[in-house]
């Protein structure tokens, strides 16, 4: 039995090799894609094996490299938590690479050499982040991930928007990484090691001895992870970067990359921080940050008319949900472990679910972009008739993200909201946060109904000629949509692993979520069972009742006839009477107009006086040289041509020099 770590190492090596190999094929667009896909497949198989191993329990550690003078070792380990995120990364990487093979045809100008090799490196770094147990190397993998993803975001190099977005993305996240560097170094100052275990011990010690320092360190870590995760206001990079990246990359960004921020937060608050009262304070902060993020993110998403930008903002919103769950979990951890396990399971499950539906949505938006060249929803309409698969998968993913039962988004939102309400019975603030989360889930629905209603439904222009995307682009979408349904009906499948991970990372033994039944569904236990959700039973009931309703509908034996839309008696071109996406829910949007302030960043202008002060030439050297020149001029007047006087100078000079030397010697 090979240890899980070895599989991960193999996976990373395969990816790096694949990156180099695909670079060789860079001149042939499709071949390059397929070669990359083959390597990603191989690495995914390895990662999959590692996940299977890691789910059972933490693997052994394997040290690859040592930096004794820094007290750092490149040590890898797979534990249940990282296994879950590894699974996300591997799945999303696999599907988006497959998707990109054909999708990249879309970019006639830009070479795929800039895409596939970098994508593979990016996946490799993500994998590395998840298995690394040494913070220095964690940071290195982390920033490699940022670096590679920066190049993927700015893939369309001639597009000014993608440049701006890439710049913003990299600067903000690099700043966040520097925060983490600072935190790591502050810890290292005390402990002399970067290992996760050392961090845990040092932090707990510092919390007792130097609480201010400890909290500062936690704050710096929080800043770092939250920025990557896209929690507002640090996540401001996200809505710019997602839309401009190639769609496969957008899916990877949103589905996998920002999840690593969540992974970091889970590690930080559930594993690095020992159970202590300070955890409760951080729980509240996390929950507030999450709620703010989900509120602002989703309501801003509602205002967008660019499909991918809308999805990007909704990513901020969904990450907010996860963060809220984490916050509730962290709050409850010291005192109510059962509740904590509910909220944490909800948060991690939502991360998994979000990877499924958001990637699916981005791929769907990509398919529309691929065929129509359009991201502006105002200009799209009625694609359902032309792109049935994309429509279907996008619909499923939209309903999932909106948390419509019985799709997967509901299961995790249900856990998070139930966690909020149950925690709210102890600390009423969470009640309000839960209510906001509930409300916002409807706003999410509203924003995705905009997508469905304006892009896919409605009437298409009569002159539109488009068709479904190629099969290699459909397959990833269908797989993700199928996962949305499957995980929605059987959340138990995933919850078992999630529960295991939560127990492993926090050390909680009390079970808040009972996911052992199939028909009986999920039970939340807070002393006694207090909340229930059985997707299977409900789906069955809905199916029976809908069939009953359909029987009623057909009972009259009514004839079906297709008719044109009624426009009150006149005829209209579909384009003129189409209700554009920007028009949806306008009064509501007006009510939340200013919640996402945006402004232009200006290139810093350097104050002129300071500049003058720093220009040494101007005020020091030039005058000095001039003065010297003048002095020399004056000295030159002593050149009178009389040898005696020169001789005198020499003698005086020799005496002075000798004197100095003697003085120095003595």
């Amino acid at each position: 039995m090979v240890d899980a770590v070895r599989y991960v190492e193999a996976s990373i090596v395969v990816l790096i090799v694949g990156s180099l190999v695909s670079l060789l094929f860079a001149r042939r667009r499709k071949l390059c894609g397929w070669v990359s896909f083959a390597f990603v497949c191989a690495s995914s198989v390895y990662t999959g094996l590692a996940v299977v191993g890691g789910c059972k329990g933490a693997s052994g550690e394997h040290t690859i490299l040592q930096l004794p003078q820094l007290g750092s070792r490149l040590t890898l380990r797979v534990d249940p938590l990282s296994a879950i995120f590894l699974a996300i990364v591997a799945l999303i990487a696999l599907l988006s690479t497959l998707y990109s093979v054909r999708y990249m045809e879309h970019y006639a100008h830009d070479k795929v050499a800039k895409f596939f090799p970098v994508l593979l490196l990016c996946v490799a770094s993500m994998t590395g982040v998840l298995v690394c147990t040494d913070f220095l190397f964690f940071l290195i993998f982390w920033e490699s991930m940022t670096l590679t993803s920066y190049f993927l975001v700015t893939f369309e190099s001639e597009n000014a928007a993608s440049q701006r977005a890439g710049l913003k993305y990299f600067i903000i996240t690099h700043g966040a990484t520097l925060c983490m560097v600072a935190a790591a170094l502050l810890l290292w100052r005390t402990s002399g090691s970067f290992h996760f275990d050392a961090i845990r011990q040092t932090l707990s010690a510092l919390l007792n001895t130097r609480p201010f320092l400890a909290h500062s360190i936690i704050f710096l870590f929080f800043l770092g992870f939250a920025t990557k995760a896209g929690i507002l206001p640090m996540g401001d990079w996200l809505p710019d970067a997602h839309p401009v990246a190639p769609s496969g990359m957008s899916a990877t960004l949103s589905g996998a990359l920002v999840k690593l921020g969540i992974y970091g937060l889970v590690r930080l608050f559930c594993s690095f921080l020992v159970v202590s009262p300070s955890l409760r304070m951080w729980g509240i902060i996390l929950a507030l940050a999450g709620t703010g993020s989900l509120f602002v993110g989703n309501l801003t998403a509602l205002r967008q008319t660019d499909t991918k930008r809308l999805m990007a903002f909704s990513t901020i919103g969904q990450i907010g949900y996860i963060c809220l769950g984490l916050g509730v979990g962290a709050y409850c951890l010291p005192m109510y472990p059962a509740l904590a396990s509910i909220a944490l399971a909800g948060a991690i499950l939502h991360a998994v679910n979000h990877a499924c539906f958001k990637s699916c949505l981005f791929l769907g938006a990509g398919s529309v972009l691929y065929r129509t060249g359009q991201r502006d929803m105002d200009k799209l309409g009625g694609l359902a008739g032309f792109m049935p698969y994309t429509t279907g998968t996008t619909t499923i993913a939209s309903l999932s993200i909106a948390g419509v039962p019985p799709f997967n988004g509901f299961a995790s939102k249900w856990l998070i909201i139930a966690g909020c309400v149950l925690a709210g019975m102890r600390f009423p603030l969470f009640l309000v946060l839960g209510l906001i989360a509930l409300f916002i889930s409807l706003a999410t629905l509203a924003s995705f109904l905009t997508v469905l209603g304006s892009v896919f439904l409605g009437k298409a222009d009569p002159d539109i000629r488009t068709r479904e995307v190629p099969i290699s682009m459909i397959v990833p979408q269908v797989v993700l949509a199928a996962l949305c349904v499957l995980l929605g009906i059987f959340p138990q499948l995933m919850l078992r692993f999630v529960g295991h991970a939560v127990a492993d990372v926090t050390g909680i033994t009390a079970a808040g979520v009972d996911a052992s039944r199939i028909w009986g569904g999920l039970f939340l236990i807070d002393g006694s069972p207090v909340a229930f959700w059985s997707p299977l039973a409900m789906l069955a009931a809905l199916a029976i009742l809908a069939l009953l309703s359909y029987a009623i509908q057909r009972a009259g034996g009514a004839q079906v006839r297709s008719v044109p839309v009624w426009y009150c008696g006149e005829e209209h071109a579909p384009a003129t009477v189409r209700y554009p996406a920007s028009s949806f829910y306008l009064p509501f949007k007006h009510a939340f107009q200013g919640i996402y302030p945006s402004g232009k960043v200006h290139v810093p202008r350097f104050p002129a006086p300071l500049r003058r002060a720093l220009d040494f030439d101007q005020w020091l050297y030039v005058p000095a040289v001039r003065a010297m020149d003048a002095a020399a001029d004056r000295v030159s007047r002593t050149h009178v041509g009389i040898p005696q006087i020169y001789l005198l100078w020499i003698v005086v000079g020799a005496i002075v020099v000798t004197g100095i030397l003697l003085w120095v010697k003595g």
Binding site: D378, Y567, C568, G569, E570, E571, H572, T576, V577, R578, Y579, P580, S582, S583, F584, Y585, L586, P587, K589
Partner: protein
């Protein structure tokens, strides 16, 4: 008759003379309150400008006349009213057949937009510089170059219909989409097409196509019917204010012919006109309620309205379309024994109206739906030449009953009230106030109806070439009838302008920046004409037996239907 200040007359003449700059062909005074000027068409625009800017004349309507059989040319006549001076000013310009063009005045008077497009469609005189080149009046498939109101156009001519012709309508601005309201729309009881450009639900513009139901009444008037037949046609111009149109027509002919209707007839006309106003306003109130979903108001006001209809039936034999008017007076007298019943019913109606008014005024939800909605500014109301309650609600104090007194209004003058806000709520208030004022007027007129004949005797043929302008304040505003007498016992030209005509032109400005939800009630607050007739005559096709159901029978049938039973 109100006195006409001779100084004003002189001043008008001066202005016209000065502005026309030698192009004045003639200046006449057909009647004491009417000044007519004939001007070279080149100077018409300048004179109009003078009238509007210096005398604040209000544009009423333009009349295009095909005078070729008489003088060999066409003529355009702009009618103006100097409301507070009680004067009509008629500016006429001959248009030679060779050069069928005339300068447009729409730039000076936005309210002349439709009038000019109308004579372009109907007579074929082109208003030069008109901002809107599109058709107004004629059907979209009407052949180009065919002008129905020319004398050589037979009244029964039917042009061949053409398939696939669409109205020429504007496209929405960028970012907006079209929400069509009409041609067939629940709150429009007549076909009209409002093409609303919306962003979300906010109206950013609108375009209109109406005149789907053009009936050619004017053509019939000057080609088929005689002077005394026309009142019945005029009465059918509108389902609600039929009496107003017949009165207005009769008054115009009487004026042109120099006939004066007897005093009793004028009093009875006043009573009928005010009764019509009462039931019309009650009807309107109900419709307005219905438009904003307040069915209770609809049901209750129509219930209150019903006795008024019965009264009309008592007086004229018909709930509506009374057939009472004729040139020179009335065909049917007011039976004196109905007076007590009339007064009694009026008291009842007044009591309930006051109750409804109090309920409406106190309803905050109604305030929410109407205050600040569909505002018509005072300035624009004047520019677009709005009339009636919409004008009065915007602070334009005009009322034909006072400005150009007719019937018995000089003896029983109404009190008019204006509002300043110009919004829908102001229009509600104006109408509710008028409702009560009308009840008072009816009561006052009833109490002082003089005895005497009801119709003047017309001894001689009406001479041709005489002009008569008459206005009547209908519930929706001022109706204008212009008659130019002709030979063979019929007018040479009969021009009708219903009050909705100028008011509808004000709608685009009123709805812009509002929401879709506000459009129906704003439109409703202008009270465009709605017909209603409840009389049912059944013909059994097997036996050809005609059977007229009584009111009680009808009621019974409808109740039976409502309970779920059949009619048979």
């Amino acid at each position: 008759m109100s006195t006409i200040d001779q100084a004003t007359v002189t001043r008008v003449k001066q202005v016209v003379a000065a502005r026309s700059d030698g192009a004045l062909l003639s200046a006449t005074e057909p009647h004491a309150d009417t000044l007519q000027f004939a001007i070279e068409k080149a100077a018409l625009r300048a004179v109009v400008e003078g009238l509007v800017n210096e005398l604040q004349a209000r544009f009423m309507i333009s009349v295009g006349t095909d005078r070729r059989p008489v003088t060999g040319d066409f003529a355009i006549l702009h009618l103006f009213s100097l409301d507070h001076e009680h004067l009509y000013v008629l500016l006429e310009s001959p248009v030679p057949e060779k050069d069928l063009r005339i300068e447009s005045i729409t730039e000076i008077i936005p309210g002349a937009n439709w009038a000019e497009r109308e004579f372009r469609d109907a007579i074929g005189i082109h208003p030069e510089g008109h901002p809107d080149p599109r058709r107004l009046l004629l059907a979209d498939d009407w052949p180009e170059g065919t002008y129905p109101l020319r004398r050589d156009f037979p009244y029964n001519f039917q042009p061949p219909s053409v398939e696939n012709v669409r109205p020429q309508l504007r496209e929405p601005p960028a970012g907006a989409s079209v929400v069509p309201m009409g041609p067939f729309f629940p709150v429009l009881e007549e076909p009209a097409y409002w093409r609303l450009f919306v962003e979300g639900e906010t109206i950013v513009g609108c375009d209109t196509r109406i005149f789907y139901n053009h009936r050619g009444i004017e053509k019939l008037g000057d080609s088929v019917l005689t002077y005394n037949e026309i009142p019945y046609l005029a009465e059918r111009i509108c389902g609600i204010c039929g009496f107003i149109h017949s009165t207005c027509y009769c008054q115009a002919v009487e004026k042109a012919a120099g006939i004066e209707a007897p005093r009793r007839a004028r009093y009875i006309r006043t009573i009928m006109l005010e009764l019509e106003r009462i039931h019309s306003h009650l009807l309107w109130l109900g419709i307005a309620g219905h438009i904003i979903g307040f069915e209770t108001v609809l049901m209750q006001t129509w219930r209150i309205r019903e006795p008024v209809m019965w009264l009309c039936e008592e007086i004229s034999g018909n709930r509506k379309t009374y057939g009472m008017n004729t040139v020179g007076g009335l065909r049917r007298d007011l039976p004196n024994q109905t007076k007590p019943k009339l007064l009694e019913t009026l008291a009842e109606v007044e009591k309930e109206t006051i109750a409804v008014r109090n309920a409406i005024v106190g309803d905050t939800t109604l305030h929410a739906r109407t205050k600040g909605v569909g505002a018509l500014t005072n300035e624009w109301a004047k520019k677009i030449c709005a009339v009636g309650p919409p004008a009065r609600a915007s602070g334009v104090a005009i009322d034909a009953r006072i400005d150009h007194p007719y019937a018995a209004y000089d003896e029983v003058p109404p009190q008019i009230a204006t509002q300043e806000a110009g919004d829908t709520w102001a229009r509600v208030l104006v109408r509710v106030g008028e409702l009560l004022e009308s009840i008072r007027l009816v009561r006052e007129a009833l109490s002082s109806v003089p005895d005497g004949p009801i119709c003047a005797e017309i001894k001689e043929e009406i001479p041709p070439g005489r002009v008569g302008v008459s206005v009547v304040e209908a519930p929706r505003g001022e109706a204008v009838h212009y008659v130019l007498t002709g030979g063979d016992n019929r007018p040479y030209r009969w021009r009708v302008r219903a009050p909705t005509y100028p008011n509808l032109q004000a709608l685009p400005a009123m709805v812009s920046n509002g929401t879709i939800a506000d459009v129906p009630i704003t439109l409703g607050s202008l009270d465009p004409c709605f017909s209603c007739t409840e009389r049912l005559e059944t013909v059994d096709r097997r036996t050809n037996e005609v059977r007229v159901y009584s009111h009680a029978e009808l009621l019974e049938i409808s109740r039976r239907k409502a309970r779920g039973g059949g009619t048979r």
